[in-house]
């Protein structure tokens, strides 16, 4: 099949970007989307042009490096799938595809389709952990954890930190990302000691990074390649509210 690509090209954070059109001829249906771009890039290099920069690493849908918008949908049209696992058989001859980077104030563009998601690391740094000094842990079976709780925690922990939720949200909210981590740790007995502090600090950091607020639209859940649920946002809100009220009482 032959495709027409319109790709956002931007040399660096300081310069203005623009859409540029490229042909993607003879695309094989068994290619992954990124392999299709590899071939386009090889062609650009042969023509003496600069290849399109995009982020990727594992190409198995787990590292969370890849991601951009395809015709306005984060990670493209297939549900529950990262762009690296999306295959070209889902497209047809003559399709025109518009590729744009994640668009959010908190994710500045570095080059072309590559954005800076450092804000996510800073949210984790602000409390997305359980303090357990190496070597100080009790036996792994010392605290039985009901399977249901453990499974729910795992559902939230499956987040790959790709940023699709932010890109899809009209408010550029990071509530699903932040809520998933607060849920994962807060659902487990090990996470209780720092539960309030974690919610307060992570939400404060989230606000400092200029992500928008959540207004329960649900685009985040719809595009999440790991199908993380919005109920995690509710858990975050509950933990935050409780912690905020308790900290008022304490002061």
């Amino acid at each position: 099949m032959n495709l027409k690509l319109h790709v956002w090209r931007q040399a660096n954070a300081a310069s203005a970007g623009r859409m540029e059109a490229y042909d993607a001829p003879d695309v094989n249906a068994d290619m992954s989307f990124l392999e299709m771009l590899d071939v386009v890039n090889e062609g650009l290099i042969a023509q003496g042009k600069e290849p399109i920069a995009f982020e990727h690493d594992c190409r198995e849908g787990i590292c969370g490096s890849c991601g951009f918008m395809v015709n306005g949908i984060a990670h493209g049209p297939q549900r529950g799938t990262t762009i690296c696992q999306l295959h070209m058989r889902h497209f047809k001859d003559g399709d025109e595809l518009y590729l744009e980077p994640w668009r959010a104030r908190a994710f500045p563009v570095i080059k072309d389709l590559v954005v800076d998601r450092g804000a996510f690391d800073r949210i984790i740094k602000a409390g997305g952990y359980i303090s357990a000094r190496t070597g100080s842990a009790p036996d792994g079976n010392a605290i039985p954890i009901p399977k249901e709780d453990s499974d729910l925690a795992m559902d939230a922990a499956a987040c790959i930190g790709c940023g699709a939720c932010v890109a899809a949200c009209p408010n550029a909210s990071a509530a699903l990302f932040t809520g998933a981590k607060i849920s994962h740790l807060g659902l487990l007995p090990q996470g209780q000691a720092e539960r309030s502090r974690r919610a307060l600090r992570m939400v404060a950091q989230y606000n400092d990074e200029l992500f928008g607020s959540c207004t329960n639209i649900g685009e985040c859940e719809a595009v999440c390649p790991k199908e993380i649920k919005m109920e995690n946002i509710a858990r975050m809100n509950r933990d935050y509210l409780k912690a905020a009220l308790e900290s008022r009482k304490a002061s």
């Binding site: 600069e50 996510f120 842990a137 453990s150 090990q190």
Partner: protein, 637 residues
């Protein structure tokens, strides 16, 4: 070069306790005066940086990805072994030790393996405390599953994402230390060289991948945790960015490289579908429990599998290995698939694939049971290939996915350059010639959480380190080398892309130094690699400049190093006139085609020493002693 393994004397059971007691300690108030560099943020690097930060050292941790959470440890599916014996099925530290030494085909150092087995139990406790959501039983206790190469159920797992969950645990511990101000995390930065002053590792030169700026970092010790070199094959299950540059640069600065030819090929991966293919995806080995592997009896039979009658199929594993059948170990299954394809009996468009057929299981167990056991894997297969494995047999083919070789380290995990430590897949230490399933995660975390915090302290406390500044002539000289290399790569502007060289290199290594090797082939490969390397340095086209994000330039530097490492792999494979584990030399096999080890002449770790760009590397041997587990031949007939 003198290889001193520094293995403690006395009984193996108490060797690590004894070693820890004999180690010198750094006073708590003095720890903050030491600067430590950790390169890599996967299970080994992330856990090392977090633990050293907790202890109070000044740690700088580097990764080339945009975040430490993306390191390739994240892709490990199956699980992590530990000798907890929670199942009451007879497991013990000694049994895990025994299985690992035997599984490694008697080419690993016994003391390191014993320590690994001991520490395995602490790893699970540590990860549970961090909130890793391991699978649990209804009673709330930890669940286990079985894995290849063991008769006990000792593998802990978090669905099919164990690597992800363990890595996120280490990443969160690391971020907690960043928060505490003990660790400075430097992402999107690649180590391009090591600086050695007065024989000791004292820092690194890095390139900021966004600005292109070269930076110097001075330290009292350097820890490399940069993973394996499977991408020398171009097509592998490794992440696209995984590379050998850090360990290769260290090798060229004096660190011995051990057993480079020990690479592991995994039998059940999705086959290559075309020339554009960029990577291979692994399908869990568990599929072989219920799938039957076959190819057509007649070479060149291109009929649809459904049209090939039972009598014209060859279930070659069941035929050749009647007692183990489809469940022979990884290396045996991989070689048999290659043999069938070499005979022209491979399936799929490329002819490089064999069928893994579930039709009989579906008939016997019903579709529901098969779906319950393998549903997620079938879905993944369909996502990639567009074929429904419930209706048509899966096509699989072996692919490279782990490298047992790496920089040589002693019992303290220190390389032959004092002050340079190597942890995780980047070192050669624990798996010998073949790694057992679910042992890679165990080793990465053992090295990072539990070994390096002791051994690094011992080095710092017992060594007099002079003050060094980033203006030292050694730093300037290495920086100039790096600058020169970047400039050269950008100035060639030839006619071939970096990937075209990488693909060609990968094909040579795969054809001649892959699943089976022979002396003639290896000599051919060495010639081909040399020729290709010469062409690379005169005809590669690296577009763009060195002053911004340039993914082609990053890749060019990595491929240039793979081209040198590929030659050393072939040399090592040529030198080792025996077959063991993942290293199968066609000349050395039993009458019925099994690996033939030579313990009299080759019971050693081959540690290669760089002697200059124009002179051959020198082979140093660390003789391996087997005091506890006695070498025997493996049989699966």
């Amino acid at each position: 070069m003198h290889l001193d393994s520094k293995v403690p004397s006395g009984p193996i059971e108490s060797a690590w306790e004894k070693a820890k007691f004999e180690m010198k300690l750094v006073n708590p108030a003095n720890k903050r005066k030491f600067n430590v560099i950790v390169v890599g943020s996967g299970l080994a690097g992330g856990s090392a940086a977090a633990s050293l930060g907790e202890l109070g050292y000044n740690v700088k941790c580097f990764c080339f990805q945009d975040s430490p959470r993306r390191a390739h440890s994240i892709a490990a599916q199956g699980g992590i072994n530990a000798a907890k014996n929670y199942q009451n099925d007879g497991d013990s530290v000694y049994r895990l030790f025994y299985d690992t030494v035997k599984g490694g085909d008697f080419r690993a150092r016994e003391h390191n393996v014993y320590r690994l087995a001991q520490i395995s139990v602490n790893i699970i406790d540590q990860c549970v405390a961090q909130g890793v959501p391991f699978a649990r039983e209804y009673g709330g206790l930890l669940a286990n599953r079985s894995f290849g190469g063991a008769q006990v159920s000792r593998t802990f797992y978090a669905r099919g994402q164990t690597g992800q969950q363990l890595l996120l645990g280490a990443y969160q511990a690391l971020e907690a230390q960043v928060d505490a101000g003990r660790v400075t995390m430097i992402p999107r930065t690649e180590m391009l060289d090591l600086v050695v002053i007065n024989g000791r590792a004292r820092g690194i030169i890095t390139r900021n991948l966004v600005t292109g700026k070269l930076e110097t970092h001075v330290a009292d010790a350097v820890i490399l945790a940069t993973g394996g070199y499977g991408n020398v094959f171009y097509l592998s299950t490794n992440a696209k960015g995984s590379n050998c540059t850090a360990i290769w640069r260290a090798y060229k600065r004096g660190a011995a490289f051990a057993n480079p030819c020990f690479t592991q090929i995994h039998p059940t991966c999705i086959p290559v579908s075309g020339d554009y293919q960029s990577k291979l995806t692994l399908m869990s080995e568990s599929l072989r429990n219920d799938g039957r592997i076959w190819v057509p009896q007649q070479p060149g039979d291109k009929r649809n599998p459904a049209q090939i009658p039972e009598g014209e199929r060859d279930y070659y594993l069941e035929r050749r290995y009647p007692s183990f059948g489809n469940l022979v170990p990884r290396d045996v299954a991989s070689r048999a698939a290659k043999a069938a394809c070499d005979e022209g009996r491979g399936v799929g468009e490329t002819g490089l694939g064999v069928y893994l057929d579930f039709a009989d299981s579906i008939k016997r167990l019903g579709r529901d049971t098969v779906e319950e056991r393998y549903g997620n894997l079938f879905e993944m297969y369909e996502r990639i290939t567009g074929e429904d494995p419930y209706k048509t047999p899966m096509r699989i083919y072996p692919a490279i996915h782990y490298t047992m070789g790496g920089l040589w380290v002693d019992y303290q995990l220190m390389s032959t350059i004092p002050g340079l430590f190597v942890v995780g897949e980047a070192n050669f230490s624990d798996h010998g010639a073949n790694r057992l399933g679910a042992s890679a995660l165990m080793q990465g975390l053992s090295d990072g959480y539990f070994v390096i915090p002791y051994t690094l302290g011992n080095y710092l406390a017992s060594t007099k380190l002079e003050k060094v500044s980033a203006d030292a002539p050694e730093f300037r000289a290495v920086t100039a080398d790096v600058e020169d290399r970047v400039r050269r790569l950008l100035s060639i502007k030839g006619n071939r892309t970096v990937s075209s060289f990488h693909r060609e290199l990968g094909k040579v290594i795969w054809d001649y130094c892959g699943m089976s090797r022979n002396a003639d082939g290896l000599r051919t490969a060495i010639d081909k690699v040399r020729t290709l390397r010469e062409e690379f340095w005169t005809n590669v086209n690296v577009p763009g400049s060195g002053e911004d994000l340039n993914q082609q330039l990053e890749n060019a530097g990595r491929v240039a190093d793979f081209m040198e490492l590929g030659e050393l792999m072939c040399l090592d494979a040529l030198d080792r006139n025996e077959s063991c584990g993942g290293h199968f030399r066609e000349e050395f096999q039993t009458e019925d085609g099994e690996a033939l080890r030579d313990d009299v002449h080759y019971q050693y770790a081959a540690a290669w020493e760089f002697t200059g760009p124009d002179s051959p590397p020198v082979l140093n041997k660390e003789q391996l002693e087997f005091e506890y587990v006695h070498p025997a031949q493996r049989s699966y007939k």
